[in-house]
C-alpha cells in the first residue's frame, strides 16, 4: 500500500536561477545539492515545514532527454503550460505581500474562493503554483 509522496519533479530552465528563486524568494530549504553529469546537479528543495517532501528541480537539458524533447519541453514550460501544485500558508496576505516585494510574479492576486483565499504565482521558469490559505 502506498503511504506517502516524497519526491516530485519540476522541470526548470536554469537550475542556478531556480535555486535562487526557490530558496531566496520562496524561502524553501535545500535538501540535496550534488553535482551530477556534465550540465546539471541533483538539486532538491523542501517547503520550510515539510522536510520530508522534496521538490526535484530538474533541468531541461540535452543530456537528460533528446534534443527534440528538450526543445519542446522548454517551450511548454516557458509559456506556462504546467500548473504544478498548491502551497498553503497561514496568512496569505502576508505571504503574498512578501513574495510580491521580492519580485515574484502573480497572475492572480489573493481572491476569496469557497474553500479559502487563493492566489497564483509563477516560478522563474514559467511553472505556476497556487498559494492558498484554506478556510
Amino acid at each position: 500500500m502506498i503511504s506517502k509522496m516524497t519526491h516530485v519533479t519540476v522541470y526548470v530552465l536554469d537550475q542556478e536561477s531556480a535555486f535562487d528563486f526557490y530558496t531566496n524568494k520562496l524561502g524553501f530549504k535545500v535538501v540535496t545539492d550534488v553535482p551530477m553529469g556534465k550540465d546539471g546537479r541533483w538539486l532538491t528543495v523542501s517547503p520550510p515545514e515539510q522536510p520530508g517532501f522534496e521538490i526535484v528541480l530538474f533541468p531541461v537539458a540535452k543530456s537528460n532527454m533528446s534534443k527534440e524533447t528538450a526543445d519542446t519541453l522548454r517551450e511548454l514550460v516557458k509559456k506556462g503550460t504546467f500548473g504544478i501544485a498548491v502551497f498553503t500558508c497561514r496568512d496569505i496576505f502576508a505571504t503574498y505581500e512578501e513574495l510580491r516585494v521580492k519580485g515574484v510574479e502573480f497572475t492572480k492576486v489573493p481572491t476569496k474562493e469557497f474553500y479559502g483565499t487563493e492566489a497564483i504565482f509563477k516560478d522563474d521558469s514559467g511553472n505556476w503554483f497556487s498559494l492558498a490559505q484554506i478556510n
Binding site: 551530477m36 496576505f93 489573493p110
Partner: protein, 152 residues
C-alpha cells in the same frame, strides 16, 4: 473605507497597509539579522507601539519579533556550519555576542550543540562526496544513466 492593492479596490481585503509594515519588519530582520538589531526601533519605524507591533507580528508569524530574529540567526548558523565554518566564527557572523548564549539557543532550537552539528554535517558531506548516488532515488539515477557509469 476600502484599501487599494495593485489598483484593485476590494472590500474583501484586510488592512494591507498594516501587512506592508509587518512584512517590511520581517524582511528587515531577514536582511539585518547579523547586526545588533534593536527591535524597539523596528516598531518605531513601522509606526506601531511596541506592544501592538509584537501582537500583530505574532499573529502573522506565530513568533514574537525577538523569537523570530533568534530563529533566523540559528537557521543561518546551521547553513554556515553545514558549509564547514568553525563554530566561533559562525557565532559572531550571525549576530550573537557571546558563544555561550549562541550555544544555548542553538541547542534549544536545533536539539544539538553547534560543534555536534558541525561534526555530523562534515561526515554527511564526506559521504555525499564519496557516494553521491546514495542521496538520489534510484529511478532518477537510472533514468539519467548515472547508475551505469558509476556503479556497474
Amino acid at each position: 473605507m476600502t484599501f487599494t492593492i495593485l489598483g484593485m479596490e476590494d472590500p474583501q481585503y484586510p488592512k494591507m497597509y498594516l501587512y506592508r509594515r509587518l512584512v517590511q519588519a520581517k524582511l528587515f530582520i531577514d536582511t539585518h539579522y547579523a547586526e545588533p538589531i534593536d527591535l524597539d526601533n523596528i516598531a518605531d519605524e513601522a509606526n506601531f507601539s511596541k506592544f501592538h507591533f509584537i501582537k500583530l507580528f505574532k499573529n502573522i508569524y506565530h513568533k514574537t519579533p525577538h523569537q523570530y530574529l533568534i530563529s533566523v540567526r540559528i537557521e543561518k548558523a546551521m547553513e554556515l556550519l553545514r558549509s564547514g565554518t568553525p563554530v566561533s566564527i559562525v557565532c559572531y557572523a550571525v549576530g550573537f555576542e557571546s558563544l555561550s548564549s549562541f550555544s544555548g539557543l542553538f541547542k534549544r532550537i536545533a536539539g544539538t550543540t553547534p560543534s555536534g552539528y558541525l561534526a555530523r554535517q562534515q561526515k554527511l558531506r564526506t559521504q555525499r562526496a564519496e557516494s553521491p548516488l546514495a542521496f538520489i532515488p534510484g529511478c532518477f539515477a537510472e533514468k539519467n544513466g548515472w547508475l551505469k557509469k558509476t556503479q556497474f
